[in-house]
């Protein structure tokens, strides 16, 4: 019988530990980022950006201490869901932020509604989550897929004069969608995408696809590659002398600061677009870049800006409700009204998707000879793009 008694005691202990809740006067924020694995570097940027925002606020809002808990979602939807449950049920956070890997956002959607837990997405771009699958609990300070791409398609045709474009992107729902949006934007401006090439995400060698580009003989090539693949693409595109024949334009990920630093001269002259660039010449952005550099001793990237932006939105809303983030309806209302100017201006539309500025950038040597994404054009007030038409209110 002794064995049984022991076991029951330890069981009771487990209950006691699991049941304990955090102090009520803290603002608990869960950060979901893929801190291990291949997205570790972007995740680090995002967390650093968010941390900077929390520190600038003095680590408190309306006298309530901000407590952040970082969890690694491993860029796997299953893990993201499990970690969100842990943050919600065990750590009892008031709000979640982060998410880089798009499928993770989709995976969390149902659970967040069920749990009535707000999430501010800093990066993940699946379009439906602020459109037909929108929920009151999900906000996005990052962009939705298509939001920047459709207007850029127009821009490339009308302003840059590329009427015939070849799309080469990684093969995923996201990649294919973006290809279609570029196509739609082009068509709207009187051009066309003449060929779409979708290659595996982990493509090592792009040479086989170059032959197809040559056959199509376009005015420009639009590319969507990220991380290591982006670096390879830029290098090989240059190695094969493609860049002289077919100007390269692409999504901002293609010329991410980390990528162009590693790529060097082969990236020079590539035109890309994003909702931000460290080279944006405004006092607000300069202040952010300077503060980030000072705090972390490294250059901010797009994910740093993303993390900073999401954290700032949460801070602003928390301030508006006097720190009472536990009152979810009030907090959600406050979030909707948030407007930010740092590092670049955003506000939320009726579907809780941030309205961004579109920055057209060109890779060129900046002050000190280092390559930067210099801003060569800006389109303000870019709302998310509704491929099936915006529903009537």
């Amino acid at each position: 019988m002794r064995t049984y008694t022991h076991a029951l005691w330890s069981l009771a202990l487990v209950w006691a530990v699991a049941g304990s809740a955090g102090a009520a006067d803290e603002i608990k924020i869960g950060l979901l980022y893929p801190t291990s694995g291949i997205y570790a570097a972007p995740a680090k940027q995002g967390i650093q950006g968010a941390t900077l925002a929390f520190e600038e606020a003095g680590g408190q809002v309306a006298g309530r201490k901000i407590v952040t808990i970082v969890e690694d979602d491993e860029a796997k939807p299953e893990v993201a869901l499990a970690k969100a449950k842990k943050l919600a049920e065990s750590d009892r956070v008031n709000v979640l932020m982060g998410i880089i890997w798009s499928p993770n956002a989709m995976a969390l959607r149902g659970y967040l509604s069920e749990r009535k837990l707000p999430l501010v997405i800093s990066e993940a771009a699946p379009r439906p989550i602020t459109q037909e699958l929108g929920t009151p609990y999900i906000f996005r300070t990052g962009f939705a897929s298509g939001q920047l791409d459709y207007p850029f398609g127009q821009y490339a045709c009308s302003k840059l004069g590329y009427k015939k474009i070849v799309v080469i992107a990684f093969d995923s729902i996201f990649g294919r969608e973006l290809g279609d949006f570029i196509d739609a934007g082009c068509k709207q401006a009187g051009g066309a995408v003449v060929e779409k090439i979708y290659a595996p995400v982990e493509t090592a060698d792009f040479a086989p696809y170059f032959a197809r580009i040559q056959q199509a003989n376009p005015d420009a090539v639009w590319a969507l590659w990220a991380g290591a693949a982006a670096l390879r693409f830029l290098k090989q595109y240059d190695d094969f002398g493609m860049k002289q024949k077919y100007p390269l334009i692409g999504h901002g990920a293609l010329t991410d600061e980390a990528v162009i630093n590693a790529a060097g001269s082969v990236a020079q002259g590539v035109v890309s677009y994003y909702n931000w660039s460290p080279a944006i010449d405004t006092p607000e952005n300069k202040r952010f870049v300077e503060a980030y550099r000072k705090r972390w001793g490294s250059e901010p990237g797009v994910y740093s800006a993303g993390g900073y932006r999401a954290a700032s939105a949460i801070l602003a809303a928390a301030k508006a409700v006097g720190g009472d983030v536990a009152n979810t309806p009030k907090f959600l209302e406050a979030l909707k009204a948030v407007r930010l100017d740092i590092p670049s201006p955003i506000r939320f539309d009726a579907h809780q998707q941030a309205v961004h500025s579109l920055y057209i950038r060109r890779v060129q040597p900046g002050p000190g000879g280092k390559l930067v994404n210099a801003v060569i054009g800006e389109v303000r007030g870019i709302e998310q793009y509704w491929p099936k038409g915006k529903p009537a209110k």
Binding site: A204, D205, A207, P208, Q215, Q236, D239, G241, A258, A263
Partner: protein, 291 residues
């Protein structure tokens, strides 16, 4: 016609890179019966150490020669410290050794990420090999041609070494029958260390020489591992000839697949493997395997 020639050459480039990896993996398996699943990790280490050397000295060729040597040294230490204690176990401890190398996949990638961070990095193409040449109207980067030459030269060197050198003869004896080799007075444990060092050194060479073409990042270990394993299995474990032929076969299949059947590329290599193993359960040139 030019397009086909262009793809053939590109397939060859990829094939040669695979050959450097497959040759080492196959030799290690052939002699030691150890399936080194950390082979991709040594490839990655080669690339990162090469990158560090390029950054420190600015000299690509120094990195090209020194990084593989350093990794080979690391491989020798690895073999002595971790693999050697396991040979005495049941069935030569080969299952344990394989599992051990799986553990090191995780360890190596975390160590590399801790040192170099998770960012994408690149090795600049050496001055002498940058730019491109046009052969019969086919436009090819010089560096790619260099990879082909490197792969073929190494294939010839390895073949020559195995066929004609004393060490090579011992190696062949060991591959055929480890017990017999020991009976002939060959110091098998030193042979094992040397072979392992050679094998992972070749992987590191592949890593450092792919740097200017494919970049350097922390996911490169697993990206290359699976396809290398497929090459070795198709060619037959322990066969250099098999490794060469299968490397070219898979390299060309992958390249042509991408160009002409883009939707099916992901399956093509697996289908080749399943097909080959269906008819030849030990690969195209595999040794009989009783273990």
């Amino acid at each position: 016609m030019q397009l086909v020639a262009f793809q053939v050459v590109n397939g060859l480039v990829y094939g040669m890179l695979l050959f450097l990896l497959a040759a080492g993996l196959s030799l290690i398996f052939g002699l030691m019966r150890v399936l080194n699943l950390a082979h991709g990790s040594f490839y990655m280490l080669g690339a990162f150490i090469g990158l560090a050397l390029v950054q420190a000295t600015g000299n690509y060729w120094l990195a090209f020669f020194v990084a593989p040597l350093l990794v080979a040294l690391l491989g020798a230490v690895f073999e002595i410290l971790f693999l050697r204690p396991l040979y005495r176990r049941e069935h030569g401890g080969h299952l344990d050794q394989m599992l051990l190398t799986v553990g090191f996949i995780f360890v190596f990638v975390d160590v590399v990420r801790s040192i170099w961070g998770g960012d994408v990095l690149g090795i600049p193409t050496p001055e002498a090999l940058s730019g491109a040449v046009s052969i019969f109207g086919v436009f090819l980067p010089k560096y790619r041609l260099f990879i082909i030459v490197l792969g073929l030269a190494l294939a010839a060197t390895l073949w020559f070494f195995i066929e004609y050198s004393r060490l090579g003869a011992m190696l062949r004896a060991g591959v055929d029958d480890a017990d017999m080799a020991e009976g002939l007075g060959i110091n098998v444990s030193r042979m094992f260390t040397l072979t392992f060092a050679l094998g992972v050194g070749l992987a590191a060479l592949a890593g450092v020489s792919s740097g200017p073409m494919l970049g350097v990042h922390t996911g490169m270990d697993l990206e290359i591992l699976i396809v290398t394993l497929i090459v070795v299995v198709v060619g037959g474990m322990g066969s250099l000839k098999g490794a060469l032929i299968a490397s070219i076969l898979i390299g060309e299949a992958d390249t042509f697949g991408k160009a002409y059947f883009p939707e099916a590329t992901m399956f093509l290599t697996y289908l080749i493997m399943v097909g080959v193993l269906l008819f030849r359960p030990t690969g195209l040139f595999g040794i009989r395997q009783d273990a």
